[in-house]
Assembly symmetry: C2
Homo-oligomer: 203 residues x 2
């Protein structure tokens, strides 16, 4: 068997093992020795395929992000209006966060070692999320040019992300699960209404 191929299989096994560990115990409990044991390889083998543990996490996060993109896309697929689509995307985002809390958290709580930048290809994966928001947003605000549209999409995403983050309840005693969903619907609708109102006011 070719070396490249064996390496690729090992890489997959390691990513899968790391994924399972993060899902079960959270990013902070991830250990190189656990990953390699689960993947059935030696400790050093990890460093033949990945630069370091952070490299593994980035690859796990990359897969999570692909999964997330699929789920969110599906959630917004059969909406009957741009407004409903934006709400559906937000709810889909919330549901994903709730279905895979540790993996979802890992997307945002992971930090590269000081000085090492996040790889550009992974930043691009994050940015790809925004395009799903930009599309219905463009329908609501055809007056926005590309740059402003993306900026606005990023703001909308950030607000939704904040509500979901706090809704998972680490710092505040959150209301029940269904209340968070209600709040999210409410606030997304409010943002859409308010943005429309502000637009017409300016015009």
């Amino acid at each position: 068997m070719a070396t490249t191929e064996r390496r690729a299989k090992l890489k997959e096994r390691l990513i899968e093992a790391a994924t399972d560990r993060i899902r079960a115990d959270g990013l902070s409990s991830l250990r190189a020795r656990d990953i390699t044991t689960d993947a059935g390889c030696s400790l050093g083998a990890l460093y033949n395929v990945f630069a370091d543990i952070d490299d593994v996490v980035v690859h796990v996060n990359s897969q999570t992000l692909q999964h997330l993109r699929g789920v969110v896309h599906k959630a917004g697929h059969d909406a009957s209006s741009p407004r409903e689509q934006l709400v559906a995307l937000a709810i889909g985002y919330l549901h994903f966060a709730r279905s895979e809390p540790a993996l979802w958290m890992s997307l945002f709580e992971h930090r590269m070692p000081a000085g090492v930048p996040v790889p550009q290809w992974h930043l691009d994966e994050h940015a790809a999320l925004l395009e799903q928001i930009a599309e219905p947003l463009a329908a609501l605000h055809p007056e926005l040019e590309q740059a402003h549209l993306l900026r606005r999409a990023r703001t909308l995403f950030s607000a939704v992300h904040g509500v979901v983050l706090m809704g998972l309840g680490d710092w505040f005693v959150g209301p029940g699960a269904s209340a968070v969903e209600d709040e999210l619907r409410l606030i997304v609708n409010a943002m859409i209404s308010g943005l429309a109102a502000d637009s017409t006011m300016r015009a």
Copy 2:
């Protein structure tokens, strides 16, 4: 000198040293040996005054939170309307996050060891932030009862927090600093307008 007093002074020195370290290098670079060296005490002395490193961080975060609360309160002090006050609080929050990024980040990226809960008194400090939002919000929505008001305040804070978080720019290539401020004003105004519109629609 009484033991209690010496301990209190040491506690303060340790918190101050930890604060400076976090401010300069970020929470993830915080080391027990650095803190104790900076504070001019032995390594073990830290464990005479604090349960562990997380305990130190909670105390640093507590002070940061007090500072934050003061800054945000001041920011909203001379607003001429509830709406402007809410916007001012959000902008104040943004400015604080930008003036002390590492300390601000530490508030949200710090995690207790698995199974250990965040002390209740510190959770209460977080909750106290919401009351500053609840006050102007109550002026805009007198129909909301206490529970719903706090829930709404939490949602508003979460959305603002999300925008500020993403605006500091780790995952997305953010626009310039002033653009984030513009986006924040815009989205807070939109949420206020939208919430008002939804309220009248229901009525």
